[in-house]
Point group: C2
Chain length 197, copies 2
């Protein structure tokens, strides 16, 4: 087995074990067993247990960012771009629930980690949303009463909360429905508008 392949196997095992037990209750030896390697092998590919968590995050954010940028590339209408961003986010969550749980739940733990430079990819994710909002405002399609950066945070909060609910619930509602309602809330708000569709 080639080296990158082994690295992948370990990362995948880590995601699955972290999701099942939480980071602190996960034993390195469990990850090794699930990856089909010896305990020591993990230390040939990662500095230590925490590094493993960080690499999971960086690896995941990398491909998520790539995917979102790719989706956005072909689009211009801000409303459609926002909708697409939301749908893509939930698609990613659905395609790997364990990964979603690790990234949303486990990572939140350590403020040490939250402040570290490794959070940059997260900032980039927010920037994609903020950009959509800003362009929408410039085109007059979105109201300019709220800062794009703020909206980005708010939207992420909702995506994260719904993902968490979905990951935890026994019989979760379909994510497609959640995507629709998320979009609805952000575009239209709560207020009833006579004659609005």
């Amino acid at each position: 087995m080639s080296q990158p392949e082994k690295r992948r196997k370990i990362l995948d095992a880590a995601v699955s074990v972290f999701a099942r037990n939480g980071y602190y209750s996960s034993k390195v030896s469990d990850i090794a067993r699930e990856a089909g390697v010896a305990d020591g092998t993990i230390y040939l590919y990662f500095k230590n247990k925490e590094d493993l968590l960080i690499q999971v995050f960086l690896d995941t954010m990398g491909s998520i960012l790539e995917r979102q940028e790719q989706v956005q590339a072909g689009m211009t209408d801000p409303t459609e771009r926002l909708r697409a961003f939301i749908t893509t986010h939930y698609d990613l969550v659905a395609s790997s629930p364990a990964l979603a749980e690790v990234v949303t739940v486990e990572l939140r733990q350590s403020s040490k980690f939250m402040r570290s430079t490794d959070m940059k990819p997260f900032g980039k994710y927010l920037a994609i949303i903020a950009r959509i909002v800003q362009e929408g405002q410039e085109q007059g399609v979105f109201a300019s009463t709220v800062q794009p950066r703020r909206i980005a945070r708010a939207l992420f909060g909702v995506l994260d909360e719904f993902a968490l609910e979905w990951a935890m619930a026994e019989h979760p509602a379909p994510l497609a429905e959640m995507a629709d309602e998320t979009t609805q809330i952000f575009l239209e708000g709560l207020r009833a508008r006579p004659g609005a569709r």
Copy 2:
């Protein structure tokens, strides 16, 4: 010192230590030192370390629920009630940042805990929001296109995310501003409306 007083001291110390180091990195002996008691004393008041975390949560949610219900009691207009709920939430966060950090960050860790019956108070918190939305819909003030329960989750996600940002940032924006923007987003949404205020 009377027993309830000592219990309080330990709970307060736990909040402060958990907020500083995270639950798993916190040592029982650190909490004991900060509370000014011996290690063993903690076990006279709490079953074990995890129980300490749970009691912090139950204790906190109890007073938060009480406060929100009290605020809601005197109000009828759904819009105002929503605004008041949001403002009160941020007031509570501001009044005890360490507590806010523990409840929003540390508790998320254990899905074992998230699923346990002790989460009921959290369900009650969501129910307060859902109720406001539902009554607003019945009065025709709010659109009926989204389920109240869903809105409640979404709003909580935003409150939580903003609280987290506020707790982590070096020079956080004033929470009053966040309260305004949160309200704005949920009531009006993003879409520009010619002639709307």
